[in-house]
């Protein structure tokens, strides 16, 4: 600007940061200088547009992830006792010996108690409002992270609350929504634990770990009892008025008993038990139920990359959506951080349905697989890339990826699904009947017993 009013004057003027005299000087100048008046108009519009920029909301799992990270950090930074602190150098030798003797007796007794204490399940995070009835106090207190849970303790949570509970080396559990759950029995003194949850109403998700083997978990609801031996499942008990129970299983098997009748619910199945009735025969999980139960993949610490498709016949549709990809990794990390970043981009892109970001992510993903080949996860990644290409409409590349899974990893658990995807895409999208028939033939020859062959067998 060449006139006596400069940009800084205008900037301070629109902020009202000048005294009356300067303000009047600028206002009189603006009346005679159309350039400055125009610049002021542009500046005001810019300021207004900046002030109107939308406030972004945090993602739904922001608080949960924050609490988890904070707890991890606090556990890492817990103070460490050093042995030299105990040896009190200026105290006479006899007193030191006596003190050490007393200390060693207390340590022996204390460490046993500490061992028992450490075996108790504890509250990892609480997001929302919940209270805990301590049977040994006995009174209600606000449920807070790190609370140890003992036999006869009872948790009541409000609508929208999520509580994560960890039993070291045994299981991870999540109490959701409005729930009233009591730990009716708990024996954690031995290698194999016994836990019984009494669920008055509410939702409970449990993911047992590999070291759970030998331990027992029993569940009691107003309408049924269930016994769990190494599995991942969810249970949903209606309010006391009905007491009906729904139970779905993601991995393993759960035995459900009511009115003297047992049913076994396997992976991908559910059962419902109405109050006073025998359990329904297990049936496959519906899409909505599948969405609910997939949350189990977020629980626990198993290092794995999970391509989330159900075990039902419709899973090819789920794959071609594309299906979400979850990473669960323990320390030390075996999955490169870059991958985690890419997965985040992908999951957000799926959520927002943004094709440009998808294309960007797919290129980064391809490059990463080449840079860090990982035989354990590669087939899942290639499957995922295949479904991605399908999603963005590049059907040839999608078929190429699924073909690659079948030829390079024929024994992979989802290879039959990959072969079926080839058949479906050739038929429906590429309209190439010959290739589709060939793919079906290959599917029936290679994977005759798979769930994917079932439809074509009929």
């Amino acid at each position: 600007m060449t006139c006596k009013v400069n940009f800084k004057d205008l900037s301070r003027y629109i902020d009202g940061a000048q005294d009356m005299r300067q303000k009047e000087r600028i206002e009189s100048h603006l009346k005679i200088c159309p350039d400055c008046a125009k610049a002021l108009e542009g500046l005001s519009l810019l300021k207004q547009s900046l002030s109107e920029m939308p406030v972004v909301k945090e993602s739904q799992d922001f608080d949960f992830a924050f609490n988890q990270k904070l707890n991890e950090r606090l556990q890492k930074e817990a103070p460490v006792w050093q042995i030299k602190d105990i040896f009190m150098p200026r105290v006479p030798i006899l007193v030191r010996v006596a003190a050490l003797l007393i200390l060693s007796i207390s340590v022996t007794l204390g460490s046993y108690n500490y061992y028992i204490y450490n075996q108790l399940p504890f509250v990892e995070t609480v997001s929302g409002n919940a209270r805990l009835y301590k049977a040994d106090s006995p009174n209600w207190i606000a449920l807070a992270p790190n609370a140890r849970l003992k036999e006869n303790d009872r948790i009541e949570s409000a609508q929208g609350t999520i509580i994560n509970i960890i039993s070291r080396g045994k299981y991870a559990a999540r109490i959701k929504e409005a729930s009233d759950i009591k730990i009716a029995k708990l024996d954690a003194r031995h290698k194999n634990h016994f836990t019984e949850f009494d669920i008055k109403y509410g939702k409970l998700l449990v993911n047992t770990k590999e070291t759970f083997k030998g331990s027992t978990m029993a569940l009691k609801s107003p309408s049924c009892q269930a016994k769990v031996v190494g599995t991942a499942f969810a249970i949903d008990v209606d309010k006391p008025s009905s007491g009906n129970t729904w139970l779905g299983v993601l991995e393993g098997r759960v035995r459900v008993t009511s009115q003297g009748e047992d049913v076994y619910v396997d992976a991908g199945q559910k059962t419902e038990v109405k109050f006073g009735n025998v359990p329904d025969m297990p049936t496959l999980l519906s899409d909505d139920e599948w969405n609910f139960i997939q949350e189990l993949y977020q629980l626990g610490e198993k290092p794995q990359v999970v391509l989330l498709v159900s075990t039902g016949e419709t899973r090819v549709d789920e794959l071609l959506k594309p299906a979400p990809l979850y990473i669960l990794d323990a320390s030390p990390r075996t999955i490169p951080r870059e991958l985690e970043a890419i997965i985040n981009i992908i999951n957000k892109a799926i959520e927002r349905n943004d094709i440009e970001t998808h294309k960007f992510a797919i290129e980064r993903f391809q490059a990463l697989i080449q840079k860090h080949p990982n035989p354990k996860y590669n087939p899942q990644f290639i499957m995922f890339i295949g479904s991605y290409y399908y999603y963005i409409g590049d059907y040839e590349k999608a078929v190429e990826s699924f073909d690659r899974v079948v030829s390079e990893y024929p024994d992979y658990v989802l290879s039959s699904l990959a072969q079926r995807a080839v058949a479906e895409i050739c038929k429906n999208n590429l309209k190439d009947k010959n290739r589709a028939d060939e793919a079906v033939k290959k599917l029936l020859q290679k994977y005759p017993d798979s769930v994917d062959s079932k439809k074509f067998m009929e």
């Binding site: 350039d35 519009l45 547009s49 002030s51 608080d63």
Partner: protein, 213 residues
Amino acid sequence: MEFLTLFCVLLIGSLKAKGLFSSSDDELALEAKNGSRAAFDKLYDKYKRPIINYIYRYIGDLSHAEELAQEAFIRVYTNIDRYIEKGKFSSWVYTIAGNLAKNFLRDKSRFTEISIDKEIQGPEGEVSLLDLIADKGRTPQEETQKEEIDKIIQQGINKLKPKHKEVIILCDIQGLSYEEAAKVLKCPSATVGSRLSRAREYLAGILKVLNKK
């Protein structure tokens, strides 16, 4: 007189207990320093969204902004015992968040990345941002247009120098006064004014919203 003071203290105490009298940031920070998780949670709830937005506007990437905001609150929690400056809790949080965002961009710039950002231009190429802003609200595609403007402005902010970026986000987007921004940026408020003017000039230049004389 003493009776009156005692009465006031009791009254405020009972109101606080009922949640009717909200504590100041400073009081909450001191309670958090004494080990109250509930006090920390209140501060976290109050500041999480402003901090996510501050970092998001600074680095232009929402997923990383959330991670950095989480890290900022972890640092607040683990260093709360070092918090001694009365009345400066908000500037302390913003400073931590700003430093994390700066470090993130610095680390990121060490790697060559394929950028998905396109050259800055309006949706129809020929139309200037000024026209778009001026037209906003008159067209039937108001929402789409608003999103487009926000995207273009964000791309412009991404191109600013850190010191200009932080002042424009704090003052023009988050609405902090010169004095409040000065506390965060640890500089005199006159410096905030001149830095803000320079930042606006650069941004206006990048976005071509001014017709130069």
